[in-house]
């Protein structure tokens, strides 16, 4: 049990949790999906489930970019950059993600020049510092991260830096939500909308969810109180028979998004016809490709893409967990073959993946409790 007084403003947290209990119909079972992996992490970390009535179930969504990237794309990237003159760069999150022949970190241990960068602009800087070598940046992320890659591409072009390229794996959140809603085994009553993605895209792109699917969606911040307040806002909508887009995270998210970021994305990217999502299959118009005007900096244009496809181990049920059909612990491999130390599926790799979050906060707690009980 989470003690409310551990939180900042415990009195407000208690009051909000009470409000949720008051608003929730005891005869109804609610399923709310938090789209963003950052929310999933916060929900487990803060033990927010313990503050909610039993009939409110939080379903973890697809918003963890590392988790939804098919393994084959990692192999593709590593293969495209295999020339000894090429430096492969990626964010730290990517380094431990297993490819068919090991993770980028394991490739580095075998002598490849693979480096962590914390910003795409640092990958570009590395290219400027190493004019005799080629620097490839493995770009990954939703709309939160894509604008930074976009600006970096624009800078590379403006400065005429020819020894730099981007392997673009950016995905977009709206088609993933659509795929979830179209899935026949899925029943979601409302969405907790992503916070930082919405700083870029704003709130308008969610309007179809309310209008066509009649589901409330509340864009939420990441503090415990933010998430609880968003649940209050959802319940109020459901009780009033309404479905609208609301913005709980107004202090950071402008309704119209960030126009400079959207402009940079429109300048450098257009939509791929389709893209594969791990556990969800091919989703049409769900990812970004680099526009032809920037082909010189597009790794897929400069290098041959092997198009490697690796199917997840049959026993792993990442897809069902990703779509919220199964809880992490209901997967056959959870906590046995698949752990954060030795991840089989991608949901165990990133701290924002629902399996890793569940394992780190719930599973370890239970294990410790069991050992304690045995010891006593």
């Amino acid at each position: 049990m989470k003690f409310v007084d551990e939180f900042r403003e415990p009195a407000v947290i208690s009051k909000t949790a009470e409000e949720i209990r008051r608003l929730a119909d005891p005869d109804r079972h609610y399923r709310f999906m938090e789209v963003c992996g950052g929310h999933t992490h916060a929900i487990y970390r803060f033990g927010l489930k313990d503050l909610l009535p039993e009939n409110i179930e939080l379903v973890h969504g697809p918003g963890c970019p590392v988790c939804v990237l098919p393994m084959g794309r990692i192999d593709d990237g590593l293969s495209m950059a295999q020339d000894s003159n090429t430096i492969f760069t990626a964010f730290g999150d990517m380094m431990r993600v297993p490819g068919r022949h090991g993770s980028p970190l394991q490739h580095k241990a075998r002598g490849r020049d693979i480096r962590i960068v914390y910003s795409p602009s640092d990958a570009l800087k590395l290219a400027q510092k190493n004019p005799d070598r080629h620097v490839m940046f493995f770009a990954i992320g939703f709309e939160t991260t894509a604008p930074s890659t976009a600006i970096t591409l624009m800078r590379a072009k403006a400065a005429g830096i020819g020894n730099f390229s981007v392997f673009c794996n950016h995905v977009t959140i709206i088609p993933a939500i659509r795929a979830i809603l179209d899935s026949p085994d899925m029943r979601i009553d409302a969405f907790i909308g992503p916070g930082h993605v919405s700083t870029v895209i704003g709130c308008r792109p969610y309007e179809w969810i309310a209008r066509n699917e009649h589901k409330p969606i509340v864009v939420s911040g990441f503090e415990p109180l933010d998430i609880l307040q968003s649940i209050v806002m959802i319940l109020r909508q459901l009780n009033a028979g309404e479905a609208k887009v609301e913005n709980q995270y107004k202090r950071v998210v402008p309704w119209e998004g960030n126009s400079a970021a959207l402009k940079a994305m429109a300048e450098t990217f257009d939509l791929r016809h389709y893209f594969e999502w791990r556990g969800m299959g091919f989703i049409s118009q769900s990812a970004l490709r680099i526009r032809d005007a920037y082909a010189e900096w597009d790794a897929e244009h400069r290098f041959a893409v092997p198009g490697i496809r690796v199917t997840d181990p049959k026993a792993a049920q990442c897809g069902e967990v990703l779509k919220g059909v199964l809880k992490p612990v209901q997967c056959k491999l959870f906590g046995k073959e698949c752990t954060p130390e030795n991840p089989v599926g991608a949901l165990m790799v990133s701290s924002e993946g629902s399996c890793a979050a569940y394992y780190n906060y719930e599973h370890r707690k239970r294990e410790a409790f069991t050992q304690l009980s045995v010891a006593v």
Partner: protein, 97 residues
């Protein structure tokens, strides 16, 4: 991945107008403010930083709230590692596994 780090703008670069020196928990690093071109940022303003780029302008109060949230999430180390990693001129400080 979706880490958003509150940082205070210390000064703007005289050579590149979108480059700014920011401070996060005592660490000073350069970030890019090109995505907030419409915001007329000034020294002393707080911004949320993601992968080396300022994403949103926020108030000081919101910045302090965000710092508390990151602390509660146990993300202080990840934040410091990321911020220390910005800018290759200081790469000696960045862990390179």
């Amino acid at each position: 991945m979706c880490l958003a780090i509150p940082a205070k703008i210390v000064e703007f670069s005289s050579e590149e107008k979108t480059r700014a020196l920011v401070e996060v928990a005592g660490v000073r690093r350069h970030i890019d403010t090109g995505l907030l071109a419409d915001e007329s940022l000034r020294t002393g303003d707080w911004v949320l930083v993601h992968v080396g780029f300022a994403m949103s302008k926020i108030s000081e109060e919101q910045a302090l709230d965000q710092i508390r949230t990151l602390t509660m999430l146990g993300e202080q180390e990840a934040v410091l590692e990321e911020v220390t990693g910005y800018g290759l001129e200081d790469s000696r400080a960045a862990p390179d596994p």
